[in-house]
Amino acid sequence: MEQPIIEIHGLTKHYGSLKAVDDLHLAIHKGEVFGLLGPNGAGKSTTILMLLGLTEPTAGEARICGVNASRNPIYVKKKVGYMPDNVGFYNDLTALENLVYIGRLNGIPEKEVKARAGTMLQQVGLEDALHKKAGTFSRGMKQRLGLADVLIRQPEVIILDEPTLGIDPAGVKDFLELIRQLNQQQGMTVLLSSHHLHQVQQICNRVGIFVGGQLLAEGNIETLAANLFRSAPYEVQVMVKKLPEQTAQLQGQLLALPAVKQVTLSANSAQIAGQENITPEIVRFFVHNGYDVTGVQERTYGLDEIYQRYFENNLKENISNEKSTGFFKRSFTGKWGKQ
């Protein structure tokens, strides 16, 4: 197998007593689109900065194209295009001037630089705003200009930190499509960080779940789901008008059903997880026992659930019980309400 284009070995970063990144191991191969997923403050940006050699790791090393990023940052920065999460431009200069400046800094010959900047702006769909000042740009336009700015040096790897933050849904779609095209047509390796699961799901070959400085899991979405829900891969939520006050008996009866592994009961809903899909049996059971079923929801495993599950585990460790139940109630009602 060829050498990974990004290798991270035991990367650790401490800020005082805070462990921003904790013993991270990761390998990303050429041509992949890798999504780094995690809540705010999980250490995603810190990891990216260490990949570029902009922040010194406390321990461990990051290698890009086989070169240590903290020892030889100039070489790495030639290979990697980085778009920060809050991308900014010189407001007094036009889009073209901004891009030409970056092109010159990257040593593009003076004769070509203007033409190349123009082509890049066309590629990201900013050809109409060529001579507009960057200060007048909307957020979405700035993101596009940021992408052009990353692409002008023709990098092998592009790293995007929260690229979809603050753009409207249509803009997000276009933007992600652009990234997908780049990946497919030019074989560029893409590493992007986000906390927007659905967006990442659309374009990533592989994702890593990053919480509290640790990579909890990585792989493609199916593998992640399979690993995570191995014990009870199927889950059904049944909503009824009213459950009895004493739930112990009901719980016993449900657990007695074939293949049921886990039952969680709340005021008017029951969550049943099992090894096989027995939704019809469960519904029949509820109907026979005289409960008024108002809704049945089979669960499919998207990134949301995966994320939730990992996030859940993490929360349980950190936050007191009371708080976390409150959080889950809210997030669950929100989710079911949507569907």
Binding site: I74, Y75, K77, K78, Y90, L105, P109
Partner: protein, 335 residues
């Protein structure tokens, strides 16, 4: 006023004309362009130009009287006279620069790093394949280039104007003195420039760094002398009870403390350079003065007299630069 930036713009491409310019020269070129187009530079350069023309006008109208004064050993140095004489209505140009120079330096540097950071351009810049220190170097070099061009062109303008109006031949020593004075002014402004760059690295808000720089400048130009006077009058014993040597040593100590101020160093050095008859910047005893003929010093000797002042200014500049280097090189650049 309008002609100044236009004149400078023509000179710009000389910095980065080569086909594959190094990142450093690209940055210098961009920074120079930014500075020259910025309103604050146009305003301050205009202000300096106006004071320059004003003081030149005053000295030209009084030049006839000054050069015919037989009491003055410097009366033969026409062009130095142009820079220094006044009839009291306006201070001479070098005094103006002692006052306005720091403002120019502060204006060019106070937002060097922190405005990039708050705009989000800093992180994008350092993610380019450049060394981090070239950013700092480029900012400093660019402002220095702008200031040097401004001051050298003013000096040459003055010399040219003097040549046309008086028609008097210029002595080489005068030319060298004027160029040294100009270089000294640039060094003096470079100190304030570096101080303000240091503050822009230190403080995240541009307003904080600008106000701090101005506060330091105000303290040194106004309050330091007042404070020193109060302290001296409180601690110094009655001069009547002291011996000659004691008075001299107290005097020396006070002058040393005065010279901690960059503007004092600048004033001392310019006075010596522009008035060749100034022999010493401290008090002289009667024995030292005995037998001295009131005649101008040679350039070499004037330069020897001001050398400590120049070294002091350069040292202060270097210290500020080193500090900003130290603060900037290893700091987290994320916003």
């Amino acid at each position: 006023m309008k002609s100044q930036p236009a004149f400078l713009k023509g000179l710009l491409p000389a910095n980065g004309e080569s086909n594959n310019a190094s990142p450093f020269s690209v940055m210098v070129r961009k920074e120079v362009a930014d500075q020259v187009r910025s309103w604050r530079f146009i305003i301050l350069a205009g202000l300096i130009l106006v004071t320059f023309l004003g003081s030149l006008y005053v000295s030209l109208t009084n030049i006839g009287r000054a050069v015919t004064n037989p009491q003055d050993p410097d009366s033969l140095f026409l062009y130095l006279k142009l820079l220094t004489i006044t009839d009291g209505s306006l201070p001479p140009f070098h005094v103006f620069i002692g006052f306005l120079g720091p403002l120019l330096g502060i204006a060019l540097g106070f937002d060097a790093i922190n405005s990039e950071q708050s705009n989000g351009t800093l992180i994008r810049l350092v993610a380019q394949p450049i060394y981090r220190d070239s950013l700092l170097n480029a900012k400093f070099t660019a402002s220095l280039i702008v200031v040097s061009i401004l001051f050298f062109s003013l000096s040459l303008l003055m010399i040219g104007g003097g040549l046309i109006t008086t028609g008097v031949k210029m002595e080489p020593s005068e030319f060298i003195r004027i160029m040294c004075f100009t270089a000294l002014s640039v060094i003096y402004i470079a100190f304030w420039l570096n101080l303000s760059i240091l503050l822009s690295v230190k403080f995240r808000q541009t307003a904080t760094s600008a106000l701090t720089a101005i506060a330091i400048w105000l303290f040194f130009t106004v309050f330091y002398q007042i404070l020193l006077r109060i302290v001296v009058s409180a601690f110094l014993p009655d001069p009547g009870t002291l011996s000659q040597e004691q008075v001299a040593s107290y005097n020396g100590a006070i002058i040393t403390i005065m010279r901690l101020v960059p503007s004092q160093l600048y004033t001392d050095a310019t006075t010596t350079l522009l008035m060749p008859s100034v022999r010493s910047l401290g008090p002289l005893t009667m024995e030292q003065m005995a037998g001295a003929i009131p005649s101008p010093l040679s350039i070499r000797e004037s330069l020897l007299v001001v050398w400590p002042q120049v070294s002091g200014l350069i040292a202060a500049t270097v210290v500020c630069f080193a500090l900003s280097y130290y603060l900037f090189m290893r700091r987290e650049i994320r916003t």
